[in-house]
Symmetry: C2
């Protein structure tokens, strides 16, 4: 029998690793639980007051934490709260989809500090052309952020298709028509950035964005992300379920109608042929209707469908009910298997899902064995089309929470200024 | 903001809890990695030699560990290995299904020390009658085990249906025809045992039994457990995925054929209507064929089907291919969602699945988006009908691995015998 790995919980940390781990722990704690005094941190993290002071001082030097408001507690003296400082660094998330490329930058607090979207028809372009468009968006954005002193710590590119993260390759993007594209290498080569670039499936990233850390209602969720294709992710016990090769979450290719329509993947009757954006637009409008055309931005087309539905237009309402019913059929299959606390509808569903909800819930009641659909709630994402890019940016920020020492101390780069007191000050 | 829970990894342990945790850690390590010297244990668990000696001595006193063979290593002196001692305690696992009740007792090493099975038609009986049959089986078995000095530490009853473990209730067992049965309380009341009794879904238990701790090939698996109904469990990252109310794994009620046959749950076209035991027997044999009748034990009926298939009987082979194809259709839906390393076919599939495998694999190739079905292997369980009861017994044993002090020291119960040397000895 070979020598086994010791269990993680007991693996000893050398002092440097321990400091890094405690810096990361403190930073993550402030993210998940909000501003608090050093005394509260010491108490909650079971560290000494002096250790917490040292950790906070280092996080301040790295520009990741700042002094906040004075906090009064029921007992003891008032203390100054410390809180995340969003200004120094940001994570970048991008999305490559069939009809658009998108980018978002999020600061350490999760606030969106930049957002860009470019409509295109990826099927008319080759992968280098698409990546060059993306690289242009990234450069414009990071130049603007640099002007306000914000440094990107990483870029995560979500893509509509099967992503083998180990091989750094998009194995198959049925709607993009791409096979075995070394997308990570391609973006890194064209972008020539100093920060790491990773690729992932857009549905996985959308799911990551919905799984709020620390929220018990978001520990077991099923995220269904609909655009032209339909995918998503499974969050089980707070963690994204990736599966053997990272291909979990390909819900759109569950076959629900064996003799049904031809899918972008080459087969018939995949769930996305009846629940994707194409199915809705084709059912709701004639080919010459502007909501069908790529000339109008997608958000505007969906806003127009909502307007018609609100006015009681029968064809629009019937289309939303029909597609909603199919969404529910697939959601019921997945709910029997996973019994999630919530099904979070993301992507285009976030915009029009309120009109689909009765049909979805009816299909869930019909299709799930457990009474009351096993307690599974149907929710609409608040992130909409931003879900995947937001998830990508959050994934990029993870490196900072894992090891805050990857962000340089300000004093390491700043120029000392002689001061009147004779002590050095740092700009 | 309310005071948050401190992170588990940093929660301090009072000395007694620490000792319990280390006893459990040592016991689990010996289970997962086999016999080894105290020196190896100290090294691998990062504990001192003297701590390990104290822990091992206590585990020996509780009858959970014993001295094994002398081990010679490349360096250092030969040492005596210590290993799990299976004799003192056992876990009990039971299964309540439509056409049988079963029981297994496993010792601490996972070896089956008793197994019983009783054919019955649960639909002809009420739940008290079924439970009384089960209680009879349990008593007979524990009486026999007591004679050889083995004490049960718990009983876990798997049942074919939705189990709400929090409420301790079988919510709905479609094939049993049971609704809202307080099964845990019922078994406890009739059995009057000194050990804890828990209930769980049989598919969850079958999945638990397949997820060998420490085996990387068994960290992400999908277990499909077929009897009259079809269920199973999802193991993600080494842990059973239970979902919101513990209802995950109800694969049998995914609707795959909307206009199909009526299911035990009242709906049409559930996966189990085309992939369960009933579908196979009805397709393979006429109503008066003995393989259809409950008079013949199920194993014998499946052995007869295998015999016919091996002889090339066209009807039998066609039935196995047809049902296998349906198994593959559902397996493909789940594989698109979960990308498991392996699909483990358990229950009746374990006996006849080798004849179904080509049809299952073909349906997987057709139905899974990822090339090569995402690398997912199809495997037949080695546990067969024993899977759920074995998983139940393993679940019962978990209490000992979590806290070995739940097993009394032998000296606490034994009678001291005066010895010739004047020191007390213990029987």
């Amino acid at each position: 029998m070979s020598a086994p790995e010791p269990p993680t919980a007991r693996r000893s940390l050398v002092p440097l690793d321990l400091r890094r781990a405690n810096l990361g722990l403190t930073l993550r704690w402030l993210r998940d639980h909000g501003p608090r005094s050093r005394a509260s941190l010491a108490n909650e993290l079971e560290l000494t007051r002096s250790t917490v002071s040292t950790l906070v001082a280092e996080l301040v030097e790295r520009g990741l934490v700042r002094e906040g408001a004075v906090q009064r507690s029921a007992i003891g003296r008032p203390g100054t709260a410390v809180e995340l400082d969003g200004r120094a660094v940001c994570g970048l998330g991008a999305e490559v989809n069939v009809n658009h490329i998108s980018l978002a930058a999020l600061d350490l607090t999760g606030t969106v500090v930049a957002e860009r979207k470019l409509a295109l028809d990826a099927r008319e372009l080759d992968e280098v052309q698409v990546v060059d468009q993306l690289v242009g968006l990234v450069r414009e954005t990071t130049d603007l952020l640099a002007a306000s002193g914000t440094t990107p710590v990483g870029l995560t590119v979500g893509v509509a298709g099967l992503v083998d993260r180990e091989r750094d390759v998009l194995t198959f993007g049925p709607n993009l028509g791409w096979r075995d594209v070394a997308l990570g290498e391609l973006v890194r080569g064209r972008l020539e950035a100093s920060y790491p670039v990773e690729i992932d499936n857009e549905g996985n990233l959308a799911a990551t964005a919905e799984a709020t850390p620390g929220d018990p209602e978001r520990r077991d969720i099923l995220v269904i992300f609909g655009e032209v294709g339909v995918g998503g992710g499974i969050v089980a016990d707070g963690r994204l379920l990736r599966g053997r090769q990272g291909y979990a979450g390909e819900f759109g290719h569950m076959i629900v109608e064996p003799e049904g329509r031809r899918c972008g993947c080459g087969r018939r009757g995949c769930w996305e042929t009846v629940s994707g954006l194409g199915a809705l637009l084709e059912t709701a409008a004639d080919p010459d209707d502007p909501v069908r055309g790529a000339e109008m931005p997608l958000e505007a087309r969906l806003t127009e469908l909502n307007r018609r539905a609100d006015l009681g237009d029968a064809r629009t309402l019937a289309a939303l009910a029909q597609v909603g019913s199919w969404v529910g059929v697939g959601a019921a299959v997945l709910t029997n298997a996973l019994n999630p606390a919530a099904i979070v509808l993301s992507g285009y569903y976030a915009m029009v899902g309120h009109h689909m909800r009765p049909a979805i819930e009816a299909a869930l009641r019909d299709g799930v064995l457990a009474p009351d659909a096993g307690g599974t709630r149907v929710e609409l994402s608040h992130l909409g089309f931003l879900a995947a890019v937001r998830g990508g940016a959050l994934a990029s920020l993870e490196t900072v929470f894992t090891d805050p020492t990857t962000v340089p101390r300000r004093t390491e780069t700043a120029t000392p200024i002689p001061s009147a007191t004779g002590k050095e000050q740092y700009a």
